[in-house]
Symmetry: none
Amino acid sequence: MLVGTTHPGNIGAVARAMKTMGLKRLSLVDPKRFPCAEATARAAGADDVLYEAQVFDTLPKALENCHWVVGTSARIRSLQWPELTPRECAGKAVAIAGHGSENADDQVALVFGREHSGLTNEELDHCHAVVRIPTAADYRSLNLASAVQIVTYELRTALTSTEQKPNPTGEDASDRINASDWEGFYQHLEIALQDIGYYDPAKPKRLMRRLRRLFHRAEPDRAELNILRGILSAAQKTARDDSGENSAAR
Amino acid sequence: MLVGTTHPGNIGAVARAMKTMGLKRLSLVDPKRFPCAEATARAAGADDVLYEAQVFDTLPKALENCHWVVGTSARIRSLQWPELTPRECAGKAVAIAGHGSENADDQVALVFGREHSGLTNEELDHCHAVVRIPTAADYRSLNLASAVQIVTYELRTALTSTEQKPNPTGEDASDRINASDWEGFYQHLEIALQDIGYYDPAKPKRLMRRLRRLFHRAEPDRAELNILRGILSAAQKTARDDSGENSAAR
């Protein structure tokens, strides 16, 4: 998944990089120019990946139905997300999507940002983890398609090197929570924190970002998310009884 | 080391790929056009690698002083050389060049062939082993710079993996939470859940066990644990105001 790509040639090069590693589902969020002859030229024989690429206005729309979302970042950010190497990311992605499956990209989204500025913090808020590709300290200028090449190479290596292993957590796919479950939870959390007087949305969003990171790291299943939402509802009920409010929305 | 490269743009992209991974010694054997403005443009900030590149007429001349020579091949050849994955190659290259050294390219040569036809069998005769980058069976068209990117990425990973990794979250030891911090949190959580009417300690303890597992997985640091306790206190305050209780213990 590419966000805000400026140069169409890079989109083509990414399609080629993906296809050599056996991946074919490309999503584009707000590309500057697409479709474009330059993209097709650079894709070489991978133009089928371009033709089937889906284009979205916003990242949240592109992420619907994704279970695990990984952003990429070259920068070292002050407020850090759980950070993975490409290899760790690949191992985890394959475990989540199911061993031996080539459809890792059905459920796992790898999100690559703009050529110069990467992903915004708001975009990273949708990610459960961040991959950072190790580079030389004095020259971090990794080309977009090269970054995709490295991550997809690790994915392919992880897919082909592991034998069929039982799912370590034994969880059922239906237990997994997707992006819209997460957003529902965070909206609930934000309102509940206001109800108990802990959070003021007029103040900066740093608190919500920290909580997102924290809960993403915990990787709750559906039953656990339901417990958390039950706790939020109980806290809200107390707060409502207290203040005499009676908002049906809550 | 690039042999018989046709497109100067690829030479520039290779320089960039190498430099991001901390490698700077590029040798060119019989390049079709070099130096060339297109190479410099594609090198981005890695033009120093191009300026310092050495150009040779033949592969044997370029390989003088090299201890271990590895060719690359996408084809599956009938007469096979010892075949390595990029990862195996990187491990061996680092072992030969000496751990912790960034000068693996002083003694180890990685030889990449022509864009379309690769290396000839005569050229492979000079190699001690061959690296084959795993690709999808139906599309092996790996770009030259992408191939270099993958192999140099593995080299960098092999070089840095033995070194002490910096703490990824940059956290200080004093930020880590210990067993008594955890117990304080869980006691607080249990009381708060009773206060908001969500938890009845007369019933089995399964809920608390699930929550323990969930929060342990999140691996919060001290600041995050303080946020969680702040939320619990806010919920308790709402509950206390509601019920008119005034327990000093809370």
